[in-house]
């Protein structure tokens, strides 16, 4: 296996983007930031991959329009996933492993506010027995939260603790769109929304985009003194049906965790769009008590569709570049109620990589 590192990261997040859902005008400055961080031009990028969905954009071929932001003469080596940035990164990592390219830039974008996000996401469900009922994302997460509360696996106070810590940490993150911690008591005094979820238990509808830059071996060392080396990358999927899996657990997260080495991880950036989902992920990952979870504020404070997962990896990488930590894990999820889960373990050295 080749040593591959995250060497660039840029993000934009906002409650409502005043622009087109192809987000070209959002992507251009974002890519410019990546060029500035790496000292590259677009011709130094061996492979491009983007993540987006036309269901979010409300138009066809939005990802083709977005390619305008790259500039494609001479032609570029380019791909697309209808998944989060983290999965676009996975494809790019594989591409680098094939030896065909040494560098990649992946980006993702989504204007969630153009439609009714929690409704649009019904289209990712089983189309015969679920979509015709239009079960919205918030309702499905709330059904999951109730199962855990009824089973005594977590309670509303534990959920509020997650929200309070996230809102407090978000105060230090300029990109978070919801911030300001108070106390567990104050949060629990707020009204129910989708019982048993209060609004602070649900990530805010967020528009935005993000980009990650990957490079192999010396190409990575050329860019940064402390590249964030990818020592493990794994993803698994659980059944889509809400009835056939134990909603208090996440077998796909556990399987991904078994595939990577989480020892020595100091920071875990977990993509938990609902507060109780962080509790599920922490349990499945078996994180030690001193691991800092979501120092960025996490998805509860800002969760742009299609980049919210990849941003977790970028946030983790940035703390390695700066010398603050040696090892971190970034997590991304997709699908209803934590159906799909990806883990990316990053370290300041190439040691521990499964070569």
């Amino acid at each position: 296996m080749r040593d591959v590192a995250v060497v660039g990261f840029a993000q934009r997040q906002m409650p409502e983007f005043d622009g087109s859902p192809t987000c070209v005008e959002l992507l251009v400055p974002l890519l410019a930031e990546c060029y500035e961080q790496t000292g590259w031009t677009r011709r130094d990028v061996g492979f491009w991959c983007s993540g987006s969905s036309d269901y979010l954009a409300g138009r066809s071929f939005s990802f083709v329009q977005a390619v305008d932001a790259i500039g494609v003469i001479p032609p570029v080596n380019e791909s697309h996933v209808e998944m989060d940035l983290a999965w676009a990164m996975y494809e790019a990592w594989l591409k680098i492993q094939t030896g065909e390219v040494d560098t990649a830039l992946v980006y993702a974008f989504g204007k969630s506010s153009a439609g009714v996000l929690r409704r649009s996401l019904s289209l990712q469900l089983e189309p015969y027995t679920m979509t015709p009922l239009w079960p919205d994302t918030v309702s499905l997460a709330a059904l999951q939260a109730r199962v855990g509360i009824d089973a005594g696996v977590w309670d509303e106070a534990a959920m509020a603790e997650v929200a309070n810590r996230s809102l407090t940490d978000a105060e230090k993150n300029e990109h978070s769109i919801r911030k300001g911690g108070s106390s567990v008591e104050e949060l629990l005094a707020r009204p129910m929304y989708a019982d048993p979820l209060r609004k602070h238990d649900c990530s805010p509808v967020t528009d935005g985009a993000a980009a990650l830059v990957l490079a192999a071996g010396d190409r990575a060392r050329d860019v940064r003194e402390r590249p964030a080396w990818i020592s493990g990358l794994s993803h698994f999927i659980d059944p889509m049906s809400m009835g056939t899996r134990d909603l208090t657990r996440s077998p796909s997260t556990a399987r991904a965790a078994a595939d990577v080495d989480l020892s020595g991880v100091e920071v875990a950036e977990l993509h938990a769009p609902f507060s109780h989902q962080e509790l599920i992920l922490r349990r499945e990952l078996g994180l030690a008590d001193d691991v800092r979870v979501n120092p960025s504020g996490g998805a509860l404070t800002s969760n742009p569709m299609f980049s919210g997962g990849g941003i977790r990896i970028g946030e983790a990488a940035a703390r390695i570049w700066s010398g603050e930590i040696e090892r971190a894990v970034g997590h991304a999820t997709s699908g209803p109620a934590l159906q799909q889960n990806l883990l990316c373990v990053l370290g300041s050295t190439t040691e521990g990589a499964r070569n």
Partner: protein, 320 residues
């Protein structure tokens, strides 16, 4: 004023799907007023039946009828229903384990307040008045009024007139925004002008404008008004009717390269017999009456010949 123009748009499509033998058996049951589950290799009865066994991955072939009554395994309150959900007033989504089934299924529960739903409560199917072989043949669940349904009867895998397909209408509403550059283009049209953007790197002028030059990725910075006269670079004579067609065939659809622009716009050519339209023909924009103008390229009704001599091929060969 916001930076960009926007307008509501609805994207809709009726998805037609074949069901296959397992979901077809389930949906046929619903049409006939019965709830059919599938038995997995572990002996569990699952509703709706999975098409393939989660352990052996073999097709699920054993069907079991379960009761239309069951127990709430989880619930949530939907205070602000979205379009096409089972109710347009607050209701509960529930996971219900039907009597005779081993795992719960998702559906709606009709109660009028959050205080009327709880985990463990007994509920029953309320059938839709008209059943067609769809998950919505179960209109919803409602609090149970009686008990006593026999369960566990094995259900035949073949049925009379089985359901083999479903139609799932999907309709999504958006507020679609134009980019700032496109917004300038549409604002220009509303004033009778055609506005493009010039790429500062390669100097190409895009009409309609784009936020970044697709050739080199540079943001297009400079707004440029282009001429209302141009050259037909290529065209086709439309003889075939199609869904949504606004003009009666035959008519000529052409790429018009406006003077000062580097990308041609597609528009309608009138004022000349179709057989006389040719590459290089010089044409000009014919606008609708001013009172009909809006933020649309349709403000230009069509293009018609200017009567000037044709442009040389060399003048537009790089724009084909």
């Amino acid at each position: 004023m916001t930076r960009s123009l926007s307008a509501p748009v609805t994207v809709a499509f009726d998805y037609t799907r074949s069901t296959g033998p397992v979901l077809g058996r389930f949906l046929t049951g619903l049409r006939d007023g019965r709830v059919i589950g599938g038995r997995t290799s572990e002996g569990k009865v699952v509703v709706p039946p999975p098409e393939f066994d989660p352990v052996t991955h073999d097709p699920v072939a054993e069907f079991v009828e379960v009761a239309p009554t069951g127990t709430v395994a989880s619930w949530t309150w939907v205070p602000e229903p979205v379009k096409d959900q089972p109710f347009d007033r607050p209701f509960a989504f529930v996971l219900v384990t039907l009597d005779g089934a081993d795992v719960p299924m998702l559906h709606a529960l009709d109660v009028s307040s959050v205080g009327e739903v709880s985990t463990g409560m007994r509920v029953q199917v309320r059938w839709a008045e008209e059943r067609v072989g769809s998950i919505t043949d179960i209109a919803c669940f409602e609090p149970a009024t009686d008990g006593g349904f026999e369960t566990g009867a094995s259900a035949p895998s073949s049925t009379i007139d089985p359901v083999t397909g479903v139609i799932v209408p999907v309709s999504l509403d958006y507020l679609y925004a134009a980019s700032p550059e496109e917004s300038a283009f549409y604002r220009g049209l509303n004033e009778g002008r055609i506005v493009g953007q010039r790429c500062p790197t390669c100097q190409k002028v895009y009409v309609p404008p784009r936020s970044a030059c697709p050739t080199d990725g540079t943001p297009t910075a400079e707004e440029v008004e282009v001429s209302q006269t141009g050259t037909i670079t290529t065209f086709c004579i439309v003889n075939v009717p199609f869904l949504g067609q606004k003009i009666t065939p035959p008519y000529v659809s052409a790429y018009v390269l406006l003077d000062g622009a580097d990308i041609a716009v597609l528009h309608l050519i009138l004022g000349v017999p179709a057989a006389e339209v040719r590459m290089g023909m010089r044409v000009k924009a014919v606008w609708k009456p001013r009172e009909e103008w809006t933020y649309s390229l349709e403000n230009i009704d069509h293009f018609e010949p200017t009567g000037d001599p044709d442009a040389d091929y060399d003048a537009y060969k790089h724009h084909l």
